[in-house]
């Protein structure tokens, strides 16, 4: 907004004081470059948009798992106090349904997004992107969704097909039965 325009607006405002200010008149945000948002912009799209460079494998993830994850999530992603992340595939229609990464989560990209943003619980953000890829690879491998030597990176991860990818019915904007 230029100074001269601002002056004329003041006069207008004085004349029309009883009218409501237009809603767009505030403009108190500061313009910020997308680059300056990089530390915050951690959302990963289903198509993999936002995945960082780096990579990891299940064997690399295995060591990190024992150190960083197993206390809450179990030695092999099973039996931990925070619930199973491995197993249960095919169980969703049974009375003992077990909703895990393998049996329930529809997209592998969600796993990277969540591990990077929120895990490990007591020190989120402390893992490198390579380590996050490795843990993701470990969990996918434990669930027998990818092979032992599969390399997870920005290209391969979104292509992983999860067993329950077709298991969801969207109710927005209407029930898609």
């Amino acid at each position: 907004m230029s100074t001269s325009k601002f002056g004329s607006k003041l006069i207008l405002a004085a004349v029309a004081l009883t009218f409501a200010m237009p809603l767009h008149a505030q403009n108190l945000g500061q313009v910020v470059g997308e680059g300056d948002l990089a530390n915050w912009d951690i959302s990963i799209g289903r198509d993999g948009v936002g995945l960082p460079t780096g990579s990891g494998t299940s064997s690399e993830g295995s060591a990190i798992w024992s150190e960083q994850c197993s206390a809450c999530h179990g030695e092999n992603g099973k039996g931990g106090p925070a619930g199973d992340l491995v197993g249960g595939i095919g169980s969703l229609t049974s009375l003992e349904h077990n909703k895990t990464v393998g049996s329930f989560w529809p997209y592998s990209t969600t796993l990277f997004d969540y591990v990077r943003r929120a895990m490990p619980y007591y020190a989120p953000g402390s893992l490198s992107d390579d380590e996050v890829y490795s843990i993701v690879a470990y969990l996918l491998n434990q669930n027998e969704i990818i092979t032992d030597d599969a390399i997870m990176d920005a290209e391969s991860l979104p292509q992983v097909e999860m067993p329950n990818a077709d298991g969801f019915i969207s109710y927005w904007p209407v029930a898609n039965q």
Binding site: H24, G45, V101, W105, D113, Y114, A118
Partner: protein
């Protein structure tokens, strides 16, 4: 209430079986006086009134921030950590003690909590809120800047999608109304229209969804259809019931999406990214999705269904001697106004329409009440709400029909309280 002899209700007063009294009678006479409604008076002589100590000397000094009476020290939120100690500390829920409150507004200190990684201790002068993604101008706002915007004010409830989780157990749990249904709170929120801020950033035509994200350690995030903001509905709340939002409610700011799942009302809001499609965050795939018997799961079930619960009488608010009581409870719907609440005292065999003193509030807690002449025999109390969209609260059995066993999200089934002859009250399934 003193014991009094019960007489039959007149035809005019009778509304439904097992002693329910017509709300029309309540409307006409106001709050019923003892002795009315077919009750013999049986008045007892009171003793001489004495002057208590607190009327005989000056009281306490002024205080900067008032606290409840020490005699109300048991009115607190029951807390429920979700994991064993040392595993996910700070992740859990606390319940609004519904049965200990009256009216419709939830006091700020008793408003339920659900945290995914504890309560961040945010310095408001260091907090920033960004709007970016598919916009012409990514913007970042300080709290101070947002406080200069025109304020919108709305009274609405926020309800956790996992509310009533204890009624997902196979056997009815003996807990209070608040412990079962208290993952809900109702407040007057004041803040800034999200549509206004999005307009300032300039949403591109490809922008169809918003990713809202908190500044907590879990950086809790949800995808939200942009319509919820652009129709003027969603806003960024800075105040709750007149004061700045409490830390456990998102200080210094939270998103409010009236009528929708609690977890979409992102607390400690730090960022909204405009995107073309939902990001399928953990809390809209792994959690907050509704597993059906056929193994498929309902997703993006945003609106909270029509629901009600009798808060008095209820477990912990047992009955005394037989006689006249006021059945009182709360009803709400994410779809809008509550148009009708029916009450049954005979397990659903007959229903009477309750009085709703304020029928204008939309997507907000609504109080209902109905006089009840309790005979001293066992009774089965239920309430059933209807909203302006015509949706009627289902029975638990009907609600579970499509869902897998123990599916707990969006449960809005009718609550059943069994009253025994000694006035005790239990949670039961029928």
């Amino acid at each position: 209430m003193t014991s009094s002899k019960l007489l039959p209700l007149s035809t005019e007063e009778h509304a439904a079986g097992n002693g329910l009294v017509s709300r029309r009678w309540l409307l006409r006479t106001g709050f019923p006086a003892a002795g009315a409604v077919g009750l013999s008076s049986g008045l007892v002589q009171a003793e001489e009134l004495r002057v208590p100590d607190w009327s005989s000397s000056p009281g306490l000094d002024l205080t900067g921030y008032g606290q409840p009476s020490p005699f109300e020290s048991e009115v607190v939120r029951p807390t429920l950590p979700l994991f064993p100690e040392g595993i996910g500390d700070g992740s859990g829920v606390s319940f609004t003690p519904l049965e200990k409150l009256a009216g419709t507004i939830t006091p700020n200190g008793l408003f339920f909590e659900r945290h995914h990684s504890g309560i961040p201790e945010i310095d408001p002068t260091a907090h920033q809120f960004a709007i970016h993604g598919l916009v012409e101008r990514p913007l970042v706002f300080t709290v101070e800047a947002l406080l200069r915007y025109p304020m919108v004010t709305k009274t609405c409830f926020i309800e956790c999608a996992g509310n009533s989780l204890f009624n997902s157990f196979d056997e009815a749990q003996q807990r209070t109304a608040g412990e079962i249904h208290g993952l809900i709170g109702n407040a007057e929120w004041a803040g800034v229209s999200l549509a206004q801020l999005l307009d300032e950033a300039g949403v591109s035509p490809q922008g169809k969804w918003l990713v809202a994200e908190g500044a907590d350690a879990a950086k809790m995030s949800r995808s939200i259809p942009i319509e919820k903001a652009m129709d003027g509905d969603a806003f960024i709340a800075l105040y709750q019931n007149g004061e700045r939002i409490r830390p456990e409610q998102g200080y210094p700011m939270r998103l409010v999406v009236p009528g929708w799942q609690g977890s979409m009302n992102v607390k400690w809001l730090r960022r909204i990214k405009v995107v073309s499609a939902p990001v399928y965050a953990k809390d809209e795939t792994s959690k907050y999705t509704l597993l059906q018997k056929d193994g498929k799961s309902r997703q993006f079930t945003y609106e909270m269904g029509v629901k009600s619960v009798i808060t008095s009488p209820s477990p912990g608010r047992e009955l005394g001697a037989p006689g006249l009581y006021q059945i009182s409870g709360l009803a709400w719907s994410g779809a809008g106004r509550i148009t009708k609440v029916e009450v049954s005292a005979d397990g659903g065999a007959s229903w009477a329409e309750a009085m709703i003193p304020d029928q204008t509030s939309t997507r907000a807690l609504t109080r209902f009440q109905l006089p009840w002449q309790w005979s001293g025999q066992s009774a089965t109390l239920m309430s059933r709400a209807t909203d302006e969209a015509g949706a009627v609260q289902p029975t638990r059995e009907a609600w579970y029909e499509p869902y897998a066993a123990n599916q707990l999200f969006h449960q809005n089934a009718i609550q059943v309280w069994a009253v025994s002859h000694d006035g005790g009250i239990r949670n039961v399934y029928v």
